[in-house]
């Protein structure tokens, strides 16, 4: 039985797809058979970030409508053999996702994979609810600003009332992933701090991903940023995956570091 992870946020553009790609990659590179599903029907994106857009023939909706088999639709990652991608349809809308259809696909995938990572669309409507309904684990992606935090709180409420686990009276494992974090801007009060966000959302912190140009560079190249272990965000994603797998390691890149301070002094 696979573990189903939903990467969700409520608010758009906070880094769900970036995080799905890197966390899925991190799990697969540790030997777990992992599939990342793009639930953003109509706004396909994951394939670009994973660099497999030119290999998309069939998609998630085709499989739901039994117009294609899972094997035809799954795309093997070029870099990591244990990683697959199930792309979204660009031409349909979210109504194409039915609960039975999604359940069918997840059941089939559960037989062969260890982890199923569901990249949720923004919002709290059908698409987002479909992505989170079957989840065992939720990674709530939040930016350090008030509206993103509020939307994350809303999504946590929906996880607690409209998911399969909630309906069965079970609890979903919840994790906070704080992305696009900029300690300098936190220091001058332009952004909420890690502590502020933790205080409001009151769920365990999986990781803090610093704002970094490496992310944009990585998505332009179609390589998830976790592959770039020179970059702070790549390292932070790797830490997050380790924590997801149960390791207890300190959070990095949270404070303005002394090293940065010296670097600035010597102009490096």
């Amino acid at each position: 039985m696979a573990k189903i992870i939903v990467v969700t946020s409520g608010k758009g553009g906070v880094g769900k797809t970036t995080s799905s790609a890197s966390i899925g990659t991190g799990l697969a590179s540790r030997g777990f058979k992992t599939v990342i599903i793009d639930f953003d029907v109509g706004l396909r994106n994951l394939d670009l970030i994973m660099g497999c857009e030119r290999r998309v023939v069939y998609d998630f909706v085709n499989v739901i409508n039994t117009e294609a088999s899972l094997n035809q639709a799954l795309i093997r990652d070029k870099r990591i053999p244990t990683l697959s991608i199930l792309p979204a349809s660009q031409t349909r809308d979210k109504e194409a996702l039915t609960r039975e259809g999604v359940q069918n696909v997840l059941d089939q995938l559960s037989k062969t994979f260890d982890y199923i990572v569901c990249d949720s669309p923004a919002g709290i409507e059908r698409g987002a609810q479909m992505a989170l309904y079957f989840a065992d684990i939720a990674i709530v992606v939040t930016n350090p600003e008030v509206s993103s935090v509020r939307d994350s709180d809303r999504i946590l409420g929906i996880l607690q009332s409209k998911s399969r686990r909630a309906e069965k009276g079970e609890i979903i494992e919840e994790h906070l992933l704080l992305t696009r974090y900029n300690p300098q801007r936190v220091a001058i009060g332009e952004m909420l701090s890690v502590e502020d966000v933790k205080d409001i959302l009151a769920i365990p912190l999986l990781g803090v991903i610093p704002e970094s140009e490496a992310v944009l560079k990585a998505s332009n190249q179609g390589t998830p940023v976790i592959h770039d272990q020179e970059s702070t965000s790549g390292m932070a994603y790797d830490d997050a995956v380790r924590r997801l797998l149960g390791e207890d390691i300190p959070h990095r890149f949270v404070d303005i570091t002394r090293k940065n301070f010296f670097k600035r002094l010597i102009g490096a």
Binding site: I124, R150, D153, G157, S161, I200, A202
Partner: protein, 247 residues
Amino acid sequence: MNAVNFQLKGSVVTAIVLELYQYDPETFATDLKDRVQQAPALFEHSAVVISMDKFDGSYDLINFITLVKQCRDAGMQPIAFRGGEKHLQSAIRSTGLAWLPSTGARNNDRELEAPAATPEVEKVVETVVEKVVEEKVVHRASKVLTRPVRSGQQFYAQDADLIVLTNVAEGAEVLADGHVHVYGALRGRALAGVRGDKSARVFCQSLEAELVSVGGVFMLSDELRERCWKQPSYVSLDDDQLTISKI
């Protein structure tokens, strides 16, 4: 352009039906007052239709003008009579209220006893409604929420206190017929005594609320910021004025 003063339309209105079974001028008035006092908010400003459909007492005792006055004195707003025997119609009309034909054994009048008037609540709400007991409730277990109340969620403790062990987020709402206790930060809305209990209170570990209310009297965050903001505090109603006090 011709200015039209009015237009006539058919419409369905919702009203409270007072189903009269028998009438004794003395006991009627006191019974009515008791019933209204149980839930003043429910009867205030709501239209009442006095139904004679199931009347089974002596018509001789009824003075309709007195009956209407008794209803008004109790805080109700009667708008019409319904049903009853033909020969009563002129007496009914003399009250100035409308007379509506009997609906036969119309079943769609829901029984509207005070405890059944649950406010509209979202699906996510777990209410503690069990079978509502007609007699006075002696003790009702409080409703306890162990997890944070999230933005968009709403929880209501009917006929009881509501206890939240952690935070109530901005955009969340907690309501109770009794007290509301929040043993974390109260950042959303908290309403105590929602069916008129003016002795109810809102208690919280840190007052950062968008709105607090007791017995229908409310205060918004702008005003709250000037009192006990982010302090352990409670909200109570004194002479129809909300008071915020430090714990």
